[in-house]
């Protein structure tokens, strides 16, 4: 789950990384109380969960006089379709140089990867493509709580030496906050010292509980509903609903729909050992998506009981057509139950998908 900018900044401040003076406001009327602390030059940043917020007009500059009016203007805006409910009002920094610092999980080495470049501020992906040697990379051992000084020297290079403790502090944030990504872009030098002008933290969804989060805000309403039942669910925009067991098989079913010229409405992985109750919930959930005209059920596995699955499908009793591919224990009984109620059961995933694509044509 991605933390909002003001949350990420609060976290890194706790770990001793300097951030600009800033206040989260929900109405423009809250701003005057903070103006003394913010000083003369102010930046107003919409706290919306979209990337490319600056380019979309979500960041506005102001001074003491224009601040309230500018905040009102920003609250009236929509940023990439999202209303602005919160603004982070910050002291505007007098930036001398911008750096980029990030820590991620490196799949290849199975360890934290720290990236630092003296060419911050711009899009890091562009730097990575056009000038890859400008990005310094160090792989750390996750069993060490601190980065050894030689790694910090390697990363910082000719940057001011005050950057080194900041790199280590962000590494601590990364470890202790279960981060998949901890990023400061830009990290800036100013006459008043070094500051994190922006911060981004993504917390591992599997660690939200121990990090004190009760809900995953990245999920849509239907995704939340799915999570309650233990399903993995992703919404797409086609007409063919998909229910599978196992992430790989379900993804592969989606791909097969595309292969045969159709479009999937969703991804739903019911997980292992699907019982009738779970299957019923899954079918109802997918059927509730307005674009869904037909549902493909593709379940395979040694311990999946086909008669249970069949009962779940029948109990869901939905208006859309359901086409089923089932393989596992009690397959014959499952087929008997489904055929009796007029459902179509086919032996391979190619056949169910082809059929579903035909139905939506």
């Amino acid at each position: 789950m991605k933390l909002r900018e003001h949350e990420a900044k609060m976290v890194i401040r706790e770990f001793g990384i300097p951030v600009p003076a800033g206040f989260l406001i929900r109405t423009a009327a809250e701003l005057p109380a903070h103006l003394d602390a913010l000083g003369d030059k102010i930046v107003l940043k919409a706290q919306v969960d979209v990337g490319g917020r600056g380019k979309a007009g979500g960041i506005l500059m102001a001074d003491r006089k224009s601040a309230v009016e500018t905040a009102e203007e920003l609250f009236r805006k929509e940023i990439k379709g999202l209303p602005v409910k919160e603004i982070l009002a910050e002291q505007r920094l007098d930036i001398q140089h911008e750096y980029y610092l990030s820590i991620t999980v490196d799949r290849a080495s199975k360890q934290p990867l720290i990236l630092f470049t003296e060419e911050g501020g711009v899009d890091i992906e562009i730097t990575a493509k056009e000038n890859p040697s400008a990005i310094r990379r160090v792989i750390a051992n996750p069993l060490m709580r601190d980065l050894p000084p030689f790694m910090l020297r390697e990363l910082a290079g000719k940057a001011p030496k005050e950057i080194m403790p900041i790199i280590n502090k962000l590494y601590r944030v990364f470890l202790e906050k279960d981060a998949l990504l901890a990023e400061i872009n830009p990290l800036v030098t100013t006459p008043l010292g070094i500051f994190a002008a922006d911060a981004k933290i993504i917390v591992d969804d599997n660690a939200l509980g121990r990090q004190g989060f009760t809900v995953n805000r990245d999920l849509t309403e239907r995704e939340c509903e799915a999570e309650k039942h233990g399903f993995s669910y992703v919404e797409l925009d086609g007409a063919i609903g998909v229910i599978g067991n196992g992430a790989g098989l379900t993804m592969s079913t989606l791909d097969l729909i595309e292969f045969y010229g159709g479009k999937a409405a969703n991804f739903l992985d019911v997980g292992g050992g699907a019982e009738s109750e779970r299957v019923r919930h899954a079918v109802r959930l997918v059927a509730s998506v307005p674009t869904v005209r037909v549902i493909v059920v593709n379940l395979l596995g040694g311990i999946t009981k086909c008669d249970e699955v069949a009962r779940g499908i029948i109990d869901a009793d939905i208006s859309q057509k359901v086409i089923v591919r089932l393989a596992g224990t009690n397959e014959a009984e499952g087929r008997r139950l489904l055929t009796e109620k007029g459902y179509e059961m086919l032996p391979t995933m190619d056949l169910v998908v082809k059929k579903a694509v035909e139905v939506t044509r």
């Binding site: 999980v105 799949r107 290849a108 199975k110 360890q111 934290p112 992906e125 051992n141 996750p142 069993l143 470890l175 279960d178 998949l180 591992d204 969804d205 599997n206 660690a207 121990r210 993995s232 992703v234 797409l236 599978g244 067991n245 196992g246 992430a247 790989g248 098989l249 379900t250 993804m251 592969s252 989606l254 791909d255 097969l256 729909i257 595309e258 292969f259 999937a264 991804f267 992985d269 292992g272 395979l300 596995g301 040694g302 311990i303 393989a327 391979t348 995933m349 190619d350």
Partner: protein, 291 residues
């Protein structure tokens, strides 16, 4: 076969839990069928002295190691205890550690794997179905009925999709040497590179089916490092960016790890890529006849 054979004694951590108990039963049924040793000991802290399907349960891995010859382990403990279980087994000197557990925080996995690597253990998973060498040994939860013995190795990030492919291979008369589910998490112990290296040293394995998915680039990196003939399949060509497709590791991030670019890189390295699972058997057959 790789990572163990008939003679490998297996330890199960989380032996007295619902999953552990159920799968000890299935693993030992398989061991009986093929004349292997199967699960020889279980571990659940505080439950030492119990028996599960006739298998003695111990409080610690070291205790179990003192009583039995153990070469591999399978972990079924809950996510919060899994990293500890991996480290306890690595510390006790178990060579192959298979971790079935799903939803382990990535930082726990990173630490446990770093420690296990220092101890010289190979970790398979987490969030994986384990491995099965037909006619030899089953370590994990794969449904044995679909498998047949032969010369094709299979490496996969998935569970049920692996069964789908194995089923297709078996129906086409193509047997398997070892089928390894390496896990769906972003950080896993043995990756494609490691397993391919094992297959290279295995005289039984003549070709490999590599089943990957969106996220990362370890399929391509693995395929680059081997001389074995490979057929690949990558799931997730229709996966939208920035969405986790069921597996914690199946995500297209920052414009990287999407299926089309993975497939393109594999093909560039001369690896044939199936566009759907049902094409795999014919493509494997072509590898063997060289046509």
């Amino acid at each position: 076969m790789i990572y163990g054979d008939k003679k490998t004694g297996i330890l199960v951590q989380g032996a007295t839990g619902k999953q552990g108990e159920f799968h000890i039963g299935l693993m030992n049924n398989y061991a009986r069928e093929v004349g292997g040793r199967g699960v020889v000991a279980g571990v659940t802290p505080g439950k030492g002295g119990l028996q599960v399907h006739g298998v003695p349960v111990y409080n610690t891995v070291k205790e179990a190691m003192g009583e039995h010859d153990i070469g591999a382990s399978v972990i079924f403990v809950p996510a919060g205890a899994a990293a500890d279980a991996i480290m306890e087994e690595a510390n006790a000197g178990i060579e192959t550690i298979v971790c079935i557990t799903e939803h382990i925080p990535v930082h726990d996995t990173m630490k446990a794997i770093a420690y296990a690597t220092m101890q010289g253990s190979a970790v398979i998973g987490p969030n994986c179905p384990g491995l099965l060498s037909p006619g030899e040994v089953k370590m994990g939860i794969m449904p044995a009925g679909l498998f047949s013995r032969g010369n094709v190795g299979v490496i996969s990030r998935s569970g049920t999709l692996t069964y789908e492919v194995v089923d297709e291979l078996t129906r086409a008369g193509i047997g398997q040497s070892t089928v390894v589910g390496i896990g769906g998490d972003p950080v896993i112990g043995q990756t494609f590179v490691d397993v391919l290296k094992e297959f290279e040293n295995d005289p039984q394995t003549k070709a490999v089916v590599l089943i990957g998915e969106v996220g990362g680039n370890l399929e391509e990196e693995g395929a680059k490092c081997t001389d074995l003939p490979i057929v690949a399949y990558i799931a997730g060509i229709s996966a939208p960016p920035d969405k986790r497709m069921g597996h914690a590791g199946a995500i297209v991030e920052g414009g990287e790890g999407d299926a089309r670019s993975k497939i393109a890189r594999l093909k560039k390295n001369g690896v044939p890529v199936a566009s759907r699972p049902s094409e795999i058997p014919d493509m494997v057959r072509k590898l063997f006849c060289g046509c």
